[in-house]
Symmetry: C2
Subunit: 145 residues, 2 copies
């Protein structure tokens, strides 16, 4: 049957390719950051003071996973965590000034590598792929949650 010609396998390989492109560009630019960490920083930056569950919901993570991601971001000094005054179970997170600076430096880099993720596709094909991907996830085209 050749499972490696099937949907799940193709998607797994796209994920590999995407992760590798991101990691390579980030490393070359001198940043030790993963695509997951960048996405978390983006969500935090857009919603300062959001709690961890909120971050998880925004970028579709498991809540148990997000804690470790944020731990590492705190370890780098890019994120600060504090106990919410409103709800003492919750941990509010926000970017530190250093985190803001790193994010600002990464942003153009990340924008620039987007096309590379989809490799040999033409601009029209890339748009078609992204549109189909959004539909396959049953997600609004551009959703600012």
């Amino acid at each position: 049957m050749e499972a490696y010609a099937m949907a799940g396998h193709l998607i797994r390989r796209l994920h590999q390719q995407s992760t590798q492109v991101f990691g390579q560009h980030a490393r070359e630019a001198g940043f030790d950051v993963t695509s997951v960490q960048f996405a978390a920083m983006d969500a935090i930056r857009s919603h300062p003071g959001i709690d961890q569950a909120g971050v998880a919901a925004l970028i579709a993570y498991d809540r148990a996973t997000i804690g470790g991601v944020i731990d590492r971001l705190i370890g780098k000094g890019w994120v600060a965590r504090s106990i919410s005054a409103r709800d003492r179970r919750a941990r509010e997170v926000r970017l530190t000034p250093g985190g803001e600076a790193v994010f600002a430096a990464l942003l153009p880099l990340v924008r620039a590598l987007q096309d590379e993720i989809l490799g040999p596709l033409s601009p029209g094909e890339r748009a078609a792929f992204l549109s189909l991907a959004r539909k396959a996830l049953a997600v609004d085209p551009v959703q600012d949650a």
Copy 2:
């Protein structure tokens, strides 16, 4: 910028969706197997006596990862590993009779869940998506390596 509207993020979520659909169906059918393990079994079944590096190359794994995957398949009694007579560094793997039986039982299940991975896409859209995905990976449409 909302990184979670970008290519890498969409692909990651598709990967999540794909993994979850596979896991859910496999579990409901009473099998404790991941999509990665299934892909490895498929490659091994198509190439009995292949070595681990060969399996890794076929399905685009990291060589360091494949050992653990095969360890778990051996633990379930579905794969047998032996030292190659031709090259004593290499470990030849093949499905056991039990592994063959499990694979045969999984195969129709896996075929049936393919469409679900791409959720709300129409048949034509699914075909278009898969075609674009293959092109994005610079892979032959159907390649039996």
